[in-house]
């Protein structure tokens, strides 16, 4: 017993260290006064110097703003297309080409990003020559490319949510006189809303940290944040990148903690209500 307790503790420590030491060291160094990233300035640290510098860096902030816009737009587009694909695949029964559509929508999940990037670039160039759109590459081309690969993830999420709930709910709505469109908007959509939210968040994240595809399909003046960071790091890691990364970690951590708390509270409320219903319910 004692031995197993020791082993368990060691595994936990090792796992946590593996996951979080790199992030922790980055956070610590973001408060380092020294210009050299890897040399700890004992005398003047900690300092918020790099955070102040970061706020004055219009180029990085501009890139961050572009990233947010691209991520939000492509998440919306991916959710709309992904939901349509998911609904068609789970609710329209067997139809000609169903297996093909199913395989094709999920293919981008396993496609190397670099191939998606090259393919997208070629398509955009060819389109521009053929119909004059898109003229040049920029935010819109990045957004379209991101929709293409994020949609696959949303489709999978929506599909599994739809498969998880009883399709007699939709049949019941039809039976009560609702036309198929009404059923979709009043029954199906509210029920898969949690999947849409998580699909949106996932698509946002995928777009937010994609650098490979964006590299291919971006144009001048439309560098996303990861591209900007990447190009700066190539010239040597500067401490304000550490500060930026720390802020991003902070935002993510707060989001995760809040959503966990919310979900736990909801679950407790629900099980309490179910218990109550069971106790007072019998006639």
């Amino acid at each position: 017993m004692r031995q197993r307790g020791w082993f368990r503790g060691a595994m936990l420590a090792l796992g946590l260290a593996f996951l979080y030491v790199p992030i922790l060291s980055m956070i610590v160094f973001s408060f380092n006064n020294s210009r050299l990233v890897t040399v700890w300035d004992r005398d003047n640290s900690p300092t918020l110097r790099w955070y102040v510098r970061l706020l004055e860096n219009d180029q990085l902030l501009g890139a961050a703003w572009i990233s947010i816009k691209v991520a939000a737009m492509s998440a919306c587009g991916a959710v709309i297309l992904g939901t349509l694909a998911g609904v068609v695949l789970t609710r329209f029964g067997p139809f000609r080409g169903r297996a093909f559509l199913s395989a094709m929508t999920t293919a981008p999940l396993v496609m190397p990003e670099i191939i998606t990037g090259i393919a997208m670039l070629l398509l955009f160039v060819a389109l521009e020559q053929a119909i004059g759109w898109p003229s040049g590459r920029g935010m819109s081309t990045i957004t379209i490319a991101h929709i293409t690969f994020a949609m696959a993830y949303v489709t999978v999420i929506v599909q599994s949510r739809l498969a998880g709930f009883d399709d007699s709910l939709e049949e019941a709505a039809l039976d009560l006189g609702a036309k198929p469109a009404t059923v979709f908007f009043r029954i199906t959509l509210p029920l898969i809303a949690p999947a849409l939210v998580s699909g949106w968040l996932l698509a946002f994240t995928l777009s937010w940290d994609d650098v490979v595809i964006a590299q291919f399909v971006s144009g001048p003046g439309s560098s996303t944040l990861p591209m900007e960071i990447f190009s700066r790091v190539r010239r040597g890691v500067s401490p304000d990148i550490n500060a930026l990364a720390t802020l991003m970690v902070l935002v993510v951590a707060v989001g995760v903690v809040l959503s966990t708390l919310y979900m736990r509270r909801e679950e407790q409320r629900r099980s309490r209500e179910e218990r109550m219903a069971h106790n007072d319910g019998n006639p």
């Binding site: 039809l174 006189g177 609702a178 029920l191 219903a277 069971h278 319910g281």
Partner: protein
Amino acid sequence: MAERVVDRHNEYLRIEGVSKRFGDFVAVDNVSLSIYKGEIFCLLGGSGCGKTTLLRMLAGFETPSSGRILIDGQDMAGIPPYERPVNMMFQSYALFPHMTVMQNVAFGLEQEGIDKNDIRRRVDDMLGIVKLGDFAKRKPHQLSGGQRQRVALARALVKKPKLLLLDEPLGALDKKLREHTQFELINLQEQLGVTFVVVTHDQEEAMTLASRIGVMNKGQIVQVGTPTDIYEFPNSRFVADFIGSVNMFEGKLIEDEPAHVRIGCPELETTVFVSHGISAPPEAPVTVAIRPEKIEMSRSAPVSGENHVTGVVKEIAYMGDMSIYLVRLSSGRLVRVTIPNVERHDERIVWDETVHLSWHPSSPVVLIQ
């Protein structure tokens, strides 16, 4: 097992030679049925017998491969579920989890484009009828199983359908609640005058609810009749065996008179005298079916020598209100006998006692198929 009168002049639902095939599998095989206004008709059968598929075709969720369904004289071919004058209560109840009880019940009326105040009034009335007025603001997960069942019922009935389809309406309730709900369901049906078509695999449920039962097997309707017809006069080995328990003995027709028959059963080591005629070719192999509660068991031999065998008690199962005895005849055949426990302290027959079994000549049913 109240027999209710069926008005046979008022046909409401007519199923004409309906079949449903899924690939090579025939789920429903050439079913024809007439269901009359105001009755509770039960489709009874084991799982996979096609009863649910038949119900789903009535609701419009499946299209018949062949045949016609007419509701109130109107052919239902090509009419989608949302335009049919029928409503369905689902086995899982299919309550919308994101809506309150009131919103669930109002949903169907909203689709008809009725005035808001009218909807409110009708929903309130309906919730009153199913005794859920105090629960209008609750969500489905805040209700017990019995309450959910009543919401599902209210939601279907508020549309004032002429025909209500119920898929295993009591399947998800525990035993105590089932009995209670069965009678509530019958009261409600009589109160509102709706025609019910109920699908169930539970013969007890079918017996108590139904004015008529259609027994299904392998996609076909095997027998249609009142609960008494089905129980007392099954028309086949399948029905006799499926409804209740029964002792069946293979035999051969020895004497065939208009008013009685005599059948030789090797397993019984005697001939069975039946006080009604049957229509079967002479020497045809037949089956004699005797219900366990129609066999008398005693320590002393009965006066009449006919329809009488002896055996040894091998098993006794005490059920409280009655006991089930398994008696082994000298042929090795086990016979099932049920005896009501009328008195508390009588001298009950015990294991390994030799007993006499006898039955009235009107009790056996002779089955040809």
